[in-house]
């Protein structure tokens, strides 16, 4: 054996071991995919409801659905990674917040070419349909529509000698101080100001009820304008935390979920929460203040109204599915099954409402006797409708929303914890908006 071949063999022995081990690991990791199912991705809400409805769909059509979900908090990151990585994905839940961003990036396809889907617009609240439009095209069918509601603990108000819930934010301060004084709650108002996806909805509700806007109709930032409601809204929060001490300084670390829990354990008298949470609030199994929670119209700021923010989550169709005729046809069937009628009924919307309490935007269901009966058990359907009529869609939805939202959330928090003045915070947020807008 020559020297050279000898050395080579040594070398090969060493490296072969490494290679073998490497390939072994990857084959282990690789997942086998079933033959072309409809890939459906959602956040982890109503999982059992979705699954049961899928089972019915599969039984009916013979198609297979690969359903996966991710937590709401990681949903956007996850989906963007999937889009960029071209992971197989056909139908997905989309939040109105992300529509411009995802449509601009070419990840979502409009559904204008599918009359079998568009026909459902006739049954849907116009406000909800508008939330699914971007640049004149419609990108889906609604999965759930809801708004930010104002809730109060009737017992605490009575004990503090308060007859009626507050109509204005000033009254919220006065009543809170009374409740505080009576020792009924340290921080009467639960306001969740943690940095999470919910924050923009809380902020929008505050701004809209103060008669304000973040941006005007032409898309120019107006939040920094002292005469507009955003300034008043933030000033009110800052005073509520730092001057009146009716909102906990911990609000910047309390997310929507923890806020909900704090409210259900009876720590607060007032709360801003998604309307659908009222079911939990009045459920004796989950809430210590069950049966005592009432909804009131969003308090109005000076010069404001009882307006609140409404939102929409919908079924979207990916561009990769739209590009393939067969895939698109199957995906559209699934969208219709969920977002439209299944077997001639709005079955899924009703299922979600009955099981979970999720809001819907298909108007015929408002007349559904079972739904009315179910809702009246824990809340007032009249109030539900009155407030929903005053809901507005978020005005900051844009392709650069995600990036701006980071800056904006930080700025509001900075003002709340006293690290920045209200003026500076809003100016910073507005500057960021205008800069991003210019960059496109």
């Amino acid at each position: 054996m020559s020297q050279r071949s000898y050395r080579r063999r040594e070398f090969l022995k060493a490296s072969a071991a490494a290679t073998l081990a490497g390939t072994g690991a990857f084959s282990l990791a690789r997942q086998a995919f079933a033959a072309d199912p409809i890939n459906f991705f959602a956040w982890s809400a109503g999982v059992d409801q979705v699954k049961s409805h899928i089972s019915a769909f599969e039984a009916k059509t013979g198609l297979k659905v690969a359903y996966n979900n991710a937590p709401w908090a990681q949903y956007r990151d996850t989906l963007v990674t999937k889009f960029v990585g071209r992971a197989p994905l056909d139908v997905l839940w989309v939040s109105d917040s992300w529509l411009p961003e995802w449509a601009e990036a070419g990840w979502l396809a409009p559904i204008d070419g599918y009359p079998q889907l568009l026909k459902y617009n006739a049954d849907v609240d116009d406000f909800s349909t508008q939330s699914m439009m971007y640049k004149g095209k419609q990108y889906g069918l609604t999965y759930y529509t809801d708004y930010m509601g104002f809730f109060y603990d009737e017992d605490k108000l009575k004990k503090a000698g308060i007859g009626a819930p507050p109509k204005t934010w000033d009254e919220v301060v006065q009543q809170s101080l009374k409740i505080k004084k009576a020792g009924l709650a340290e921080y009467p108002l639960m306001l969740s100001m943690a940095r999470e996806t919910w924050l923009i909805e809380f902020l929008s509700a505050m701004v809209f009820s103060h008669g304000g806007r973040f941006v005007d109709d032409s898309g120019v930032a107006v939040m920094q304008d002292k005469k507009r409601g955003a300034h008043a809204a933030l000033s009110w929060i800052v005073e509520a935390v730092n001057k009146h001490k009716i909102v906990s300084p911990a609000c910047v670390e309390i997310g929507e979920l923890n806020g909900l829990k704090a409210f259900t354990s009876g720590n607060h008298a007032f709360a801003l929460l998604g309307r659908y949470r009222v079911r939990t609030l009045n459920d004796p199994k989950q809430s210590q203040i069950a049966g005592r929670v009432r909804q009131a119209l969003m308090p109005a700021g000076p010069g404001g109204s009882h307006a609140t923010v409404g939102w929409n989550r919908f079924y979207g169709l990916t561009s990769q599915a739209a590009a393939n005729k067969e895939k698109a046809a199957n995906a559209v069937k699934l969208i219709e099954w969920f977002g439209g009628k299944a077997d001639g009924k709005y079955a899924f919307q009703k299922l979600m409402f009955m099981d979970v309490g999720s809001g819907f935007a298909v108007k015929p269901l408002f007349k559904d006797a079972e739904i009315i009966k179910a809702y009246q058990q824990y809340s007032d359907i009249g109030m539900y409708e009155r407030q929903q009529a005053l809901a507005k869609k978020k005005d900051v939805i844009s392709p650069w929303f995600g990036e701006w939202d980071e800056v904006n959330g930080t700025a509001w928090q900075a003002a709340i914890v006293g690290k920045s003045s209200v003026d500076d915070a809003l100016r910073k947020s507005a500057d960021s908006w205008n800069k991003l807008r210019k960059q496109g």
Binding site: D48, P71, T81
Partner: protein
């Protein structure tokens, strides 16, 4: 006098280390009503294992209108629908960790032996190179890794984690092993060569059996690093098929409606395997690290 002092110091130390964990365990077996009491119940009055049962009992099954669980996940005792992902995620973590451990050893053992025992041209350069790569913060690797993993088509695959974890574990493994090999006498190397071993045989038949303490230490370090890694897994895995334990646990903290005690239960489960490993192999960690570490 000294005994008393040592006793007090040990107690302070024990409390510092164990109290937070004890609180985590205590919280994991409390019911939701109890866990929200103020001040907290340090010892649960009505301990329950329902969180753990939910995690292990949860099985993937056909869900129809009839078998669906009604109500928000909340009404099911605050146990999220994703509870069933935890056990598979622990399997994922295990698979990744084992694969990384094996590959790491295959890569770093020969390299460490060469650096410690062979005086070759480029020896110090390769040592510096290896150490330099350790200094790069892993978050700086995320973007290039992302494109790299994307190119390989491994996004949302365990393979992406195996590859990227090598980047963060190999330099450390080599570092520890080089130190340990250097502490073993050179003459053993010579003796083995004279006895007829090639370099590879010298490594496998003489040094490897002698390096067991540091091998165990490297295996443990690598295993725990992989098992515990969060940032890269957060970036490169998106579905339960490939998500590892830390991702699923972190996801619980941001789920819609979830009980505090459930999160703590998930935390307890995440903690148990690595803690058992570490405590069982405690002896090796210290002795395996020593030779490498002091030399630096």
């Amino acid at each position: 006098m000294k005994r008393i002092f040592l006793f007090c110091a040990s107690t302070v130390f024990l409390v510092y280390v164990l109290a937070p964990v004890a609180w985590l365990v205590s919280s994991s077996v409390q019911q939701e009503a109890e866990i929200t009491s103020r001040p907290p119940h340090w010892i649960p009055r009505e301990p329950t294992l329902e969180n753990f049962e939910a995690i292990f009992a949860a099985k993937e099954k056909q869900v129809t209108y009839e078998t669906r669980r009604q109500g928000d996940p909340a009404t099911g005792g605050y146990i999220p629908s994703t509870a069933r992902n935890l056990v598979p995620a622990m399997w994922n973590s295990l698979i990744v960790a084992v694969a990384v451990v094996i590959l790491n050893l295959v890569v770093s053992v020969p390299a460490a032996y060469a650096m410690a025992k062979i005086r070759f041209v480029g020896r110090s350069a390769s040592i510096y190179f290896m150490l330099t790569t350790r200094v790069i913060p892993d978050i700086a690797l995320v973007v290039p890794f992302f494109f790299f993993i994307h190119k390989l088509g491994l996004l949302d695959h365990l393979g992406s984690l195996v590859i990227t974890y090598l980047a963060i574990t190999v330099p450390f493994g080599v570092f520890i092993l080089v130190g340990y090999f250097e502490s073993l006498p050179d003459e053993l190397d010579k003796a083995a060569r004279i006895d007829g071993c090639s370099r590879l045989q010298t490594l496998l038949r003489v040094y490897l059996p002698l390096a067991v303490p540091s091998l165990v230490a490297v295996v443990l370090f690598t295993f725990l690093t992989s098992w515990n890694e969060f940032l890269l897994a957060l970036m490169f895995t998106q579905t339960p098929a490939s998500q590892t334990m830390p991702i699923i646990v972190a996801a619980f903290t941001s789920d819609f409606t979830i009980s505090f005690s459930f999160i703590n239960a998930a935390g307890v489960l995440a903690v148990i395997p690595p803690v058992i490993l570490a405590v069982v192999f405690e002896r090796y960690i210290v002795s395996g690290l020593t030779a490498g570490a002091v030399k630096g």
